[in-house]
Assembly symmetry: C2
Homo-oligomer: 258 residues x 2
């Protein structure tokens, strides 16, 4: 097996878009895009200046690698149709194991970019950790080289670890974003510009360069400031869910029962 | 009233430390530090290369301003002892209104830095929004000038707005940090380096420069990926509180009922 140079992308979502761009920027040859919805494949193919395939049969079978950047449920449907392909099949899911592939196949792998992707937001791909997995040591070696072309951080981890880091990422990223949504709703009620909060949010993350998440914890709960917490709960009278979350999370921070 | 040049700091915690440093860096004259615990006042005075006062009686009464950087409960105790002071009394609390001061006093104000402060973490003070309030227009003018000396962003807001932004900050900053704590606990269980998550966390915040918090939302809940959510809930069997939070927050993201 020679170094991965030619890649076909299956999927047309945020991960397909950004990894496609990263591969192009790294000088790799993105042969084309396939998506269940051809219109989407065509749009992404135009954005990446490459081909689009109308059917799976139209996909060339001799690319070095196939990036399966589709939803977990679509993976189950698409993988059985790719079993005759020669190149490496690599899915990008945080929560799906290697066991989604038939066990007899050697050219199977995971190429998981640990990042939050939105098409409208540009990214520095070098900063995105790529977490790779394969049962085949040669495949693993090729994925390591491929990863090194687009990122400064490529790590081999197993399926259990990847599932765990994906779960951790849901808390640390998706649920933080929901906390920002709550903040956005609250400040808008009093005509306050959400932008005022941005330096605080950036610093909240920047602190983690120096402090552990536990050391970085500030606020009324960690200093047991019951009076402020009572005031806050009273302000949330019209937001039952926020109030409930405020109580639950504050109790946890107070108790430090992790 | 002339421009604020001389300042006494009441308090020796994180806010006292960082605003004291910011004032010094801006060329203001920090006369000294008072704290209920003299040892703490002495430590901060050494750090800021200034004096410390053993008792409130020892504090000079003719400074231009007094920064009351103490807890909300200490504010109630200390303010009655400062009523003969000539300079501006300015507290730094997000959750306390102007009504903590006797109504007949004109030299009272709020000087609230919207940031998370830990002594171990250096800060670019210019990036910290300073939210000011006073009933007296001259005091407000002087606070605006003082704020401009240490920060690029000084805004006049009223007590209700400040209390609301403080509540929003608890969700957006303190509760995000608790989400990072959960992530930290989870990855450690599988010997994964928490540092791998940092580019994701930085990008999660950086996205807000381009997208609203609602537009920035990604993850299994917002795309209604029930299978992944079920897997995650199963992985949290031994973490009852995390599981409960996962369910509650995911339900909210799914329903988008803000």
């Amino acid at each position: 097996m020679s170094a991965i140079q030619t890649i076909v992308i299956i999927g047309s979502g945020n991960v397909a878009f950004h990894l496609g761009k990263a591969f192009k920027q790294a000088g790799l040859d993105v042969w084309g895009i396939y998506s269940r919805t051809y219109a989407n494949a065509k749009i992404l193919a135009q954005q990446l200046d490459t081909k689009s395939y109308v059917t799976i049969d139209a996909i060339p079978k001799d690319a070095d690698a196939y990036l399966l950047a589709v939803s977990d449920s679509a993976l189950v449907q698409v993988i059985p149709q790719l079993l005759q392909f020669e190149g490496i099949l690599m899915h990008t899911s945080g929560s799906v194991g290697l066991d989604i592939y038939p066990t007899h196949l050697k050219n199977t792998a995971v190429f998981y970019p640990l990042q939050t992707f939105s098409k409208a937001k540009e990214l520095d791909y070098l900063q995105i950790p790529i977490l790779i997995e394969s049962k085949d040591s040669i495949v693993l070696y090729e994925l390591q080289n491929l990863g090194n072309k687009i990122s400064n951080t490529v790590r081999r981890i197993n399926s259990e670890q990847r599932k765990k880091i994906h779960l951790a990422a849901v808390f640390a990223s998706n649920f933080s974003t929901y906390m920002y949504q709550i903040a956005d709703v609250l400040v808008k009620e009093d005509d306050i510009d959400f932008n005022l909060l941005k330096p605080l949010l950036k610093e909240t993350v920047a602190k983690l360069d120096k402090l552990s998440p536990m050391e970085a914890q500030t606020g009324p709960a960690v200093r047991n400031d019951e009076k402020t917490m009572q005031k806050h709960m009273a302000m949330l009278e019209n937001h039952a869910v926020y109030k409930n979350l405020y109580q639950m999370i504050s109790d946890q921070i107070k108790n430090k029962k992790n």
